[in-house]
Assembly symmetry: C2
Homo-oligomer: 366 residues x 2
């Protein structure tokens, strides 16, 4: 077999395989630390490797198997604690199988995402995990470029409707519905949604709003659907005045929550879909002189150490960030190791952490 | 010159240089977007390039110049908002000069840092920015390995005493001193330092403590020095009971602050050197039933959106994180472009953001 001769007396993977009485692929998977090998065969390969004095050589391994033992991760915003947690999960799961991870951040910019994909192709990574900015926009030529070069791609956090890939996501719609149901169960009917799709003008209808959300990020579209689900179930009419529009900027959330608090029939509760929306909303509350939860209740994404030490401690949705990253890495590494892509949506459950930021609304005559 | 012939009528860098009447290196720097070129020569090169219809080709550029237009960044913890901010600065400054950045996180583990350095050497990056875990430990063989292969290394946030490299850092010692001086100026004399070096037992003397800190992270040693500077200036005796030991874990800070609050002569103020130390301290305060700033004052590293929306809003030290990253990238890109390393410590100034978490200590008979 070409490239399989021993050099300077170093045993090759094929020689280890022959000694163990297993196929070369099984020996390569065991010694390379990727793909599935049954415990019994693994044992035999490792014993044979020890007997022959086999020592893995990363470069030789890469040349003989075509595997460079590197995964590329493209995240929308490295500065978001959510992605930091996801990356830790990816890193831990990859490391456990002997893979390093290279990270590129696109800062939610599609051009950056295309450039990042090209860099990873150029650096010959074995697979790519993508927390995509292209989601919902249909601009997926760069994803196809990677796939065309035999580089598998797995999506995390956000799904892309227009390509058929494995995606590991959380139950965004359910999470949002449960949060809004919790507010409704406390008696709230004027519930602000902070924040929604970036548009100049809020759409006047439920339908137009959903269409706009679908054109934007998948996660936010799903969270908006969950908000509307809960309103529908409780027969609370949709009010476009209670949905924040605009780019995901803390300052914008501050302004918009201030607007919702100044409405004649003001909001009594807020559902915040991002960390920056939470801190923006809290700034607006501080300025308004209203107090949480006496005057206004709040539930938000994502839980953090800060949320627990606030006054009051905030009721928050906790995403299984580490598990999200680890699962994405495992799905990808199975494909790198030779498994067929299942092209499934893997959905993990989030959790509502109940603390003290939800209370009944103040009575109207108070 | 080999590799310099036109292909398919495409002009080469040498032809552009000849047309512009400049040296090939100047043309390459201008067209490659790296290193310094005077405005006048840049103008001439760009005019010649336009006249000849020169179009840059990333791969050809990489082969002819040996520059792959990729920087590697090794950070201690991608999950720390501080590093996220630094990376944004690195990314923005690199992008402005046409370089992509690959990030690897070591999670404060030296073995991971060594592996990450090898990955970056393997991926042929043009330079490495290192927020090192090896600092102060003298384990710098991996840094030398990169330098030996002609890959320049610039340090950010943390300096390494044992290698002679450019480092971009903040004024940790001054920042800490200013924070502790602010607490002393408010009347505090029992000031907790949260957290210090990871040791089983707190050293009994000032000298032993500093030695321990020096063996650990450079930043924390510097912050400890600033704390001691301020105590010395005010002739406040050092009390080892007020210095938190142990690993950088929020839970540990919670326990240790609870201990300091239970001392017969308890702390009246806390200086927290990390975000996790701040949230840990706030947890302890919440459990103790003491209130900030009435019963206890607090100043911490690093400022964040959360700190501003706390009750009370926290007085915090703001590090110029973006500038720190951008400066490190610029210093490195200058070296990649051919400049001699200056082997300097570039020190940027931090800022104390005064909010409402500092007040005079409660009177002893209260």
């Amino acid at each position: 077999m070409p490239g399989e001769r021993s050099q300077a007396g170093r045993p090759t993977i094929s020689e280890v395989a022959a000694e163990a009485g297993v196929g070369r692929a099984t020996a390569a998977r065991t010694l390379g630390g990727y793909g599935y090998v049954s415990p019994e065969l693994r044992e035999r390969v490792l014993a044979a490797a020890e007997k022959l004095g086999y020592r893995a050589n990363a470069l030789a391994r890469s040349m003989s198997t075509g595997v460079s033992h590197t995964l590329g991760v493209i995240v929308a915003d490295i500065g978001n604690p959510f992605f930091a947690g996801v990356m830790r999960g990816i890193s831990d799961a990859s490391r456990a199988r002997g893979f390093d991870t290279l990270v590129l951040s696109t800062y939610e910019d599609l051009e950056e995402e295309v450039a990042a994909t090209n860099v990873l192709i150029d650096k010959r990574v074995d697979g790519v995990i993508l927390a995509s900015a292209a989601v919902g926009r249909g601009d997926v030529a760069h994803i196809r470029a990677a796939l065309d070069r035999g580089i598998p791609v797995v999506l995390v956090d956000r799904a892309v409707a227009s390509v058929d890939l494995d995606a590991v996501v959380i139950d965004n719609r359910d999470a949002a519905r449960r949060a809004v149901e919790t507010l409704i169960a406390s008696g709230h009917r004027r519930i602000g949604f902070v924040w929604g799709p970036p548009m100049a003008e809020p759409p006047a209808t439920r339908r137009a709003l959903l269409a706009a959300a679908s054109r934007n990020l998948w996660t936010d579209g799903e969270r908006l659907r969950g908000y509307l689900d809960a309103l529908d179930d409780a027969r609370i009419p949709f009010d476009p005045d209670l949905v924040m529009m605009g780019r995901k900027i803390e300052e914008r959330a501050t302004q918009e929550v201030a607007r919702m608090l100044a409405l004649p029939d003001r909001v009594t509760a807020l559902f915040c879909t991002e960390t920056e929306a939470v801190t923006g909303a809290l700034r607006a509350l501080r300025t308004s002189g209203l107090s949480c939860p006496r005057d206004i209740s709040l539930i938000g994404f994502d839980d953090s150490a800060w949320a627990a030490v606030m006054e009051p401690p905030l009721t928050m949705i906790e995403q299984p960030v580490h598990q999200l990253g680890a699962k994405a890495a495992e799905v990808l590494l199975d494909i790198v190791g030779g498994a067929e892509p299942r092209r499934e949506m893997h959905t993990l459950r989030s959790r509502l952490i109940t603390r003290s930021s939800v209370a009944p609304p103040p009575s109207p005559d108070a």
